[in-house]
């Protein structure tokens, strides 16, 4: 089967990444199609964060290629800027800008990077704040919101740049249990809208429900890749079996 090149959102091939001498990612190959929803899981320290942070150059890979919508990630700064515009990222610790209101958080990049006027940017941002169900918090500062609310703002902030791909790095891990659902709901609705998503998470229920594919990593390698039904019911490798029994065990 061949896919038209524009349908491939992210293509990673033979990618290696090092922290100093430490080989953090080993020969990574991954293809993500437009509209596909990937959940990445694996034990702590297996390189999940590192991998998705390579996609928007928060970490630099040493060899192999990463291509996002036909643009190769290399030392060309304009390529990096282009790819960062097309990919939104949501972090475990929200990383909202504490000195700006919620609305300013969401309009900053559209105004500076996409050169939108304030009125247009605010209109778009308010639309997304509505989508994540906190339009009434627009004029508050991040410090005045709960964790779940902050993470939803972070999602709205990323969406305001109108990205083609969303990267999530454990978006619910820093949240109290009662707030996890509200964030997962927003993510699920994004998935239903057809957003291309790469999501590092330990929320296996969420993976089962919305993922097209689960990518299991261990020790810097992609060990297994399978649709969720298959992965959860019948993991092929011993490491995946151990991992699942630990995560689902309690």
């Amino acid at each position: 089967m061949t896919t038209a090149p524009e349908e491939i959102a992210i293509e990673i091939s033979e990618m290696n990444m090092f922290y100093g001498n430490f080989h953090a990612l080993k020969d990574i190959n991954l293809k993500v199609k437009t509209g596909e929803r990937i959940v990445v899981c694996g034990p702590s320290g297996s390189g999940k964060s590192t991998m998705i942070r390579c996609i928007n150059r928060l970490e630099e890979h040493r060899s192999g290629t990463i291509t996002v919508y036909g643009t190769e990630l290399n030392d060309d700064l304009s390529n990096i800027d282009e790819i960062r515009c097309e990919t939104g990222m949501v972090f475990q610790n929200f990383n909202l800008f504490p000195h700006m209101t919620v609305l300013e958080n969401c309009t900053l990049a559209p105004m500076l990077v996409r050169k939108m006027s304030r009125t247009v940017a605010e209109k778009i941002a308010l639309g997304f704040l509505e989508k994540v169900q906190i339009p009434e918090q627009a004029d508050k500062f991040p410090g005045q919101l709960s964790g779940g609310q902050q993470q939803r703002v972070a999602i709205a902030r990323a969406l305001s740049m109108n990205p083609k791909i969303m990267l999530f790095d454990e978006p619910t891990s820093a949240l109290d249990p009662e707030m996890i659902a509200e964030v997962l709901d927003v993510m699920a609705s994004l998935a239903r809208d057809g957003m291309t998503m790469v999501c590092v998470t330990h929320e296996m229920g969420f993976a089962r429900e919305i993922a097209d594919r689960v990518v299991f990593m261990a020790e810097g390698e992609i060990v297994e890749e399978a649709p969720p039904e298959e992965f959860f019911k019948d993991p092929k490798t011993a490491r995946a079996k151990t991992f699942l029994s630990q995560v689902l065990g309690h």
């Binding site: 960062r84 515009c85 990383n95 800008f97 990049a109």
Partner: protein
């Protein structure tokens, strides 16, 4: 407030006082002793400065009497020398206006509403332009006054404001170079900062005033005053750069990552995300640095500038007023105090402003 409320207010104040200061025998005795001492000192000062003081210039003979207090006659007689130094007597209004222009410029640029490059730029251009035209003269029918004759408060304020306005951007540049990913740049900057900080301010000012003309071409000399201001600004910038670096370290690493992930350019990341937060974190030491710098301006006396402390010394320098130095220093002290007090109140205002904003 009803009477019962006010009664309970006084009662609780009384109880608090008793608890804080008179809870034990020793504590109570110490409190009483200190209170007596305090009252005594305040009363002596009040008696000297107000009750027994001689106020009018023409009364200065009375100052010699044994029971005379403060001799404010010296201020009444010599205040123009203190405030304007050697500036030509008939042109003092120009020095006063020039001083006002600089103070106004500083005050306006402290108001958040004017914090955009364009507005601040306009304010400084106008403020400095009018200061220069007023002080220097030579146009608009103003007689020309050479820089050697500038002095007093106008000079002090001018040097302070110039050091701040040149030093602050320079500090930011040094900070960014120090944080550069290229080791050559960051290490060289580190060495420059360390060297400048290791030298006493006086050495740097002397070098700028006296040594620099030997090593740079003639057309770059400018006036000694401007060279001294540049040297002072460099000194300020090296300290301030380190203060800001502390502020940058207080900004979470995730902040810059989030800005990168949104596609913000280096300059936007620095100017919108990192620096605003770094300045907030570094606010108390920054205000401190301004206060120290304001007081340090008095050091330029040694290189032959007639700033307010020097013109004050001149005010009691004649045989006639030689005895009244305490009064002159008290007067100058009050001037310094009012500036520094405004600075620290402003710092407190800024801190309150963003704790309210981010709470």
């Amino acid at each position: 407030m009803t009477s019962s409320q006010s009664a309970s207010f006084f009662q609780s104040t009384f109880l608090n006082l008793r608890r804080d200061f008179f809870s034990s025998k020793i504590g109570g005795t110490v409190s009483l002793l200190l209170l007596t001492l305090l009252i005594f000192v305040l009363w002596t000062a009040f008696d000297w400065a107000i009750l027994r003081a001689i106020w009018l210039a023409e009364d200065h003979q009375l100052c010699k009497l044994d029971d005379a207090g403060a001799c404010w006659s010296v201020i009444a007689a010599r205040w123009r020398l203190i405030l304007f130094g050697l500036y030509p007597y008939d042109e003092h209004w120009r020095s006063a206006l020039g001083c006002f222009a600089v103070v106004l410029t500083v005050v306006l640029s402290c108001i958040p509403r004017f914090w955009s490059a364009k507005k601040i730029g306009t304010i400084w251009l106008l403020g400095y332009g009018s200061f220069y035209i007023l002080m220097q003269g030579g146009i608009f029918g103003l007689s020309s006054v050479s820089i050697d004759q500038w002095g007093g408060l106008a000079l002090t304020v001018f040097v302070f404001a110039s050091v701040a306005v040149i030093g602050m951007p320079l500090a930011v540049i040094l900070l960014l170079m120090r944080r550069s990913e290229m080791p050559i740049i960051s290490q060289t900057t580190g060495v420059i900062i360390d060297v400048v900080r290791a030298l006493p301010l006086l050495t740097i000012l002397f070098a700028a005033a006296v040594v620099l003309p030997f090593v740079i071409p003639g057309w770059m000399h400018g006036d000694k005053l401007y060279r001294v201001i540049l040297g002072f600004a460099l000194f300020f910038a090296c300290y301030q750069a380190e203060i800001l670096r502390g502020g940058v370290q207080a900004v979470a690493a995730g902040q810059e990552e989030a800005a990168k992930a949104l596609g913000l350019s280096y300059w936007h990341r620095v100017s919108r995300i990192v620096l605003p937060q770094a300045f907030r974190a570094a606010l108390p030491p920054t205000i401190n640095q301004f206060v120290v710098t304001f007081k340090d301006t008095s050091i330029i006396t040694i290189i032959g500038f007639f700033e307010i402390l020097a013109s004050g010394a001149a005010a009691f320098g004649s045989a006639e007023w030689g005895f009244a130095y305490v009064e002159v220093y008290v007067f100058i002290g009050l001037i310094y105090f009012s500036f520094v007090f405004c600075l620290s109140r402003y710092g407190a205002y800024l801190e309150r402003r963003h704790t309210i904003a981010t709470r």
